[in-house]
Amino acid sequence: MWLRYCPRFMIIRRQHIELSTSAQFVQQLNTSRRDRSHSYYDGVYHGHIQTTPFQKALLAVGSGVAALQDPYRHDMVAVLGETTGHLALVSLRDRMRNDPEGLTILTERPRIRLSTLDLKNMASLPDGSFGREYLRFLEDNSVTPDSRTQVRFVDDEELAYVMLRYREVHDLMHTLLGMPTNMLGEVVVKWFEAAQTGLPMCALGAVLGPLRLNARRLQSLFTSLGPWALRNGRRGRCVLSIFYERRWDQNLEDLRQELHIEPPPATLHPSRKT
């Protein structure tokens, strides 16, 4: 009943499932939510939560504030990315569709997780190959590919996959750019991703990240690493369109050339902390 008076942007468009015979006895619920008898799969994909535009706006603001207050809240950064990134995700998806390898990824939907990676095989690859360098990166920085937050607030299922792919490919970006996971490395990768993807969350991270760097790092960022990242991000091929899982044995330098990425101007070591 209240739907009639509610502003359009606060209504969730859902199907009504009405019980036929005794509708007058069953209390009409106050919202138009479908009777969720299957809680496992509520929404367009596993883990999807339906939200109205008003809720998305509120989430964007709230998660932005929370992420700024506590940068270690990766789930808030993730939520910010999902709620603000719709247009960027659409353009990314179109770019992927226009690329033959990207189209393969969209149809096959590969996932990068420990269970799908053959670590022994990758360790036996020669030095300088993409797979070996990626493994080295994971070991040196003590990260695992399984720590990505699940996508929840993107309403289109294909765009949700694009978002997920972007998150899973983030570590591979570190390997491609040769950046460790300290603050400076993360900011450089964010600049690259902002130029590549156009996601507002990346842009925000790129702008606010440098605030936490000391003067020496800031200088190196603005003079050499930053412009390098932006330049390569703009002219490089779309990094989400690469089927990394089939390129583990490819030489890293060859892969960089193929993606039009110059080698990094300075080698940063993972032992350095901000």
């Binding site: 008898s37 809680s39 509120l58 709230g62």
Partner: protein
């Protein structure tokens, strides 16, 4: 009064019919679900519950978990998981969601309760101890008021009065509050709060189910349950247990979200509940679904009159309710006589 009884019988018939319909719909849904379910282990659970339909009554009956329909056996464990997740941020979230007004509601509960020194309170679903701490503060202030009154009368206390004041076994009955909760995480948070406040005596923490309290009959002067009874699977069972553990003359007090009386306020409240509260849950506690459950469970709870009827059916006398904040919260009170 005859009209009232007639209305209550009709209401009960209507509730019974709707319950039957929900049961039928639920069993059809269960069957369809088991046919088309992709996840094998989920199917296995459903099949097990169907096979046990004739022997296990709890799996056969269904109840609501927010807007979802689940079996009664499932509901308890789902509610447990919800509160396990929210326990650490429970108090912060209460303040954020109610803009601090929940403190006024709990203060109102204590004012209506008006406990006197020597009273024993059982606070069920009292996890983090809000009511318990308020109770102890109230008792202490009542004691101070009594002492001030005695002083102002200008009488010097006799030796008997002084010796009564000494903390000793066998003196005047000490007031005590027992906090009972089914969820260990919530009790853990409550104990931490007690330690940080420096409260050591007069307080005990017990793990227990409101439908099956681990206490003997006729133990407590006061029974309170604040924002907990809507999470109980069988409310009538919880009310019967409350009646059992109260002493004759004891008082039952229940603070719970209820139906808003004003239609304008109701629309605002609904919009706020469904739009803002899950977002707050996600941002502050990192848990959308638990707070979605919270606002849905409020909608499924019986309204003021229905709950009053339930209390009367359980055997309480002089049942009355007070609407707080326009009906957002209702305080029900009944006596065991």
């Amino acid at each position: 009064m005859a009209a009232n009884i007639h209305c209550s019988i009709i209401n009960r018939k209507r509730n019974f019919l709707s319950h039957c319909v929900i049961n039928m719909a639920a069993s059809v849904r269960t069957f369809v679900r088991s046919l088309s379910r992709k996840n094998a282990c989920f199917t296995a659970v459903l099949r097990r519950s169907e096979c046990r339909g004739f022997t296990g009554a709890a799996e056969d009956r269904s109840t609501h978990f927010g807007f979802e329909t689940v079996s009664e056996a499932e509901k308890a464990s789902k509610v447990y998981k919800v509160f396990e997740n929210v326990a650490q941020k429970y108090d912060v979230m209460n303040d954020a969601m109610s803009l601090g007004i929940h403190r006024l509601w709990k203060d109102a509960l204590l004012h209506v309760m008006h406990p006197q020194p020597g009273a024993r309170l059982l606070d069920v679903a009292g996890g983090t101890g809000d009511i318990a701490f308020r109770f102890l503060d109230y008792i202490r202030s009542q004691q101070e008021k009594q002492q001030r009154r005695a002083m102002s009368l200008g009488q010097t206390p006799s030796w008997r009065d002084i010796s009564d004041g000494y903390p000793a076994g066998g003196g005047a009955p000490e007031s005590a509050v027992v906090v009972c909760d089914i969820n260990k995480e919530m009790l853990k948070v409550g104990r931490q709060r007690a330690d940080s406040r420096g409260v050591t005596t007069g307080l005990s923490w017990v793990v227990g189910d409101a439908e099956e309290l681990p206490f003997n009959d006729d133990q407590f002067d006061l029974y309170s349950i604040a924002f907990g009874i809507r999470n109980v699977t069988r409310i009538d069972q919880a009310l019967k247990e409350a009646l059992r553990v109260l002493k004759p003359g004891g008082r039952f007090l229940c603070l719970e979200f209820s139906k808003v009386t004003n239609p304008v306020l109701e629309r605002l409240y609904d919009a706020y509940s469904f739009q803002v509260i899950p977002v707050l849950g996600e941002v502050i506690a990192g848990d959308w679904k638990s707070y979605q459950y919270l606002v849905e469970s409020i909608r499924k709870f019986p309204d003021q009159e229905e709950f009053k009827g339930l209390m009367e059916d359980a055997g309480f006398f002089c049942v009355q309710y007070f609407n707080l904040t326009g009906g957002v919260v209702a305080l029900h009170s009944g006596f065991k006589l």
